[in-house]
């Protein structure tokens, strides 16, 4: 975890930089997608449920 968020880390190659930044980004994207789903449930929580049967 420390390696993931170490702000003083030096990247010697573009490969290293992109591996790090993309890894963090993909994890963040996963979190954001789950977060947005939960936010939608919160947002629409009190709406009238539309029943089609």
């Amino acid at each position: 975890m420390k390696g993931l968020i170490d702000m003083d880390r030096v990247f010697y190659t573009l490969q290293d930089f992109m591996l790090h930044s993309k890894s963090v980004t993909y994890i963040l994207i996963g979190g954001i997608l789950i977060g947005l789903m939960l936010f939608w449930i919160f947002l629409a929580g009190r709406d009238e449920k539309k029943r089609t049967f």
Binding site: F17, L28, I29, I32, F39, W40, F42, L43, G45, R46
Partner: protein
């Protein structure tokens, strides 16, 4: 006779008219100075800062906040949400006036007003992003004028032309959405040419996406904000349908804005992550960035969410006001505050009083025209001769 003169004088010299009149007179004087003595006489612009608040506020904020037109008509005519129909005309009017004033404000920067049609008709700079912005704004202003014209035609009693233009609504809406997507994002893309000048927290490869997404919730928020002002000052002009639908419009738009704003916070964080710019958040610029993102995007998104759940109109309106300020702050941060962030303080830009006067003048002219139109034309009500046509 003197009593009649007193009555007329009382009706003209209202507080609004006095303030608006003063701003307009001051604006006309500065306009004369700008076009006779040049930019240097009225602005603090220089080689380092060629764009000031006329671009940062009048153009960027004006275009973003006028996005309510395409958002509302897309919601009503493309997504089929007919319960928002009463919000379309006010939104289109605001958008039309907004874009028209953007073009007016642009004249102050570019000068030589007779040359404005040149990039469209004479010398198209097709490799330039700014050409694309100009072309899209020109086309979209035309679309908005046509979309707005039924209100004028109903007022003038020109039924045949009005009926013909109303049939074009869907085509115009689609065209409007395409053009808006293009120019809203392109305004953000303009700053991609200056990665060394714009602070890394605001600079991103995704600037076009950020500008486009933020224009959506800017438009939604502006419709809510403008609707609340209209209810306060033009309530007497509104018909039963408008009054009945207004709460639904505000709550529905607030709910949509809430979700989009949360998504926007997410993509901004992704942008920081992709460039590994987390360390900037611990600087003073980072504090300012988080102030903008959390205070003026995440916070109003939460307020919108609570308001939508509780069906609280007052809370929606507060969230709309904060969101509108947030979009203005974002555009000003990108174009002025965080632009040339590395220059020493003595070389940074701050607008002159003349520049501020012109910006106020442009906004005041817009409000005056808006008031003229809504008090005379069928914007907040359906014209009695066309009540079953819309």
């Amino acid at each position: 006779m003197s009593q009649e003169i007193d009555r007329i004088n009382k009706s003209i010299f209202t507080p609004f008219n006095i303030i608006a009149g003063t701003v307009i007179i001051a604006g006309l004087i500065v306009t004369f100075l700008r076009f006779t003595k040049g930019l240097g006489a009225v602005t603090n612009l220089d080689d380092n800062n060629p764009w000031g608040i006329w671009i940062g506020f009048d153009l960027l904020c004006g275009v973003a906040l006028a996005a309510g037109g395409y958002v509302t008509s897309a919601a009503c005519y493309i997504f089929g949400l007919k319960r928002y129909h009463s919000a379309v005309r006010p939104a289109i009017l605001t958008a039309f006036l907004g874009y028209a004033l953007v073009v007016l404000a642009l004249h102050y920067d570019v000068g030589r007003p007779w040359r404005l049609p040149y990039p469209i008709f004479l010398s198209q700079g097709t490799t330039s992003l700014l050409f694309e912005v100009g072309l899209c704004v020109f086309l979209y202003l035309s679309v908005l004028f046509i979309e707005y014209s039924p209100a004028v035609l109903e007022w003038l009693g020109l039924k045949k032309i009005r009926d013909l233009i109303v049939r074009l609504t869907l085509v115009l809406t689609i065209f409007g959405v395409i053009l808006s997507t293009l120019h809203q994002s392109s305004l953000g893309a303009l700053f991609m040419i200056a990665p060394s000048k714009l602070h890394p927290l605001w600079y991103s490869n995704y600037l076009p996406v950020y500008f486009f997404i933020s224009s959506i919730f800017a438009g939604l928020s502006m419709v809510i904000f403008e609707g609340s002002l209209a209810h306060r000052y033009f309530h007497y002009k509104m018909d039963e349908i408008h009054l009945k639908e207004s709460k639904d419009v505000a709550l529905g738009f607030g709910k949509a804005a809430s979700f989009i704003m949360m998504g926007y916070v997410g993509i901004k964080l992704i942008g920081i992550s992709i460039d590994n710019n987390w360390h900037y958040l611990t600087t003073s610029w980072g504090v300012w960035y988080l102030f903008e993102l959390i205070g003026f995007v995440a916070l109003p998104a939460f307020i919108y969410a609570i308001a939508a759940r509780e069906k609280n109109l007052r809370l929606v309106r507060w969230a709309a006001l904060i969101s509108v300020f947030g979009v203005v702050l974002n555009r000003l941060n990108i174009s002025i505050v965080a632009f040339n962030w590395q220059l020493p303080t003595a070389e940074r830009y701050f607008p002159s009083w003349s520049e501020i006067t012109i910006s106020l003048f442009v906004v005041t002219v817009g409000i005056v025209f808006y008031r003229f139109i809504v008090t005379r034309m069928p914007i907040f009500y359906e014209h009695p001769d066309y009540q079953h046509d819309n």
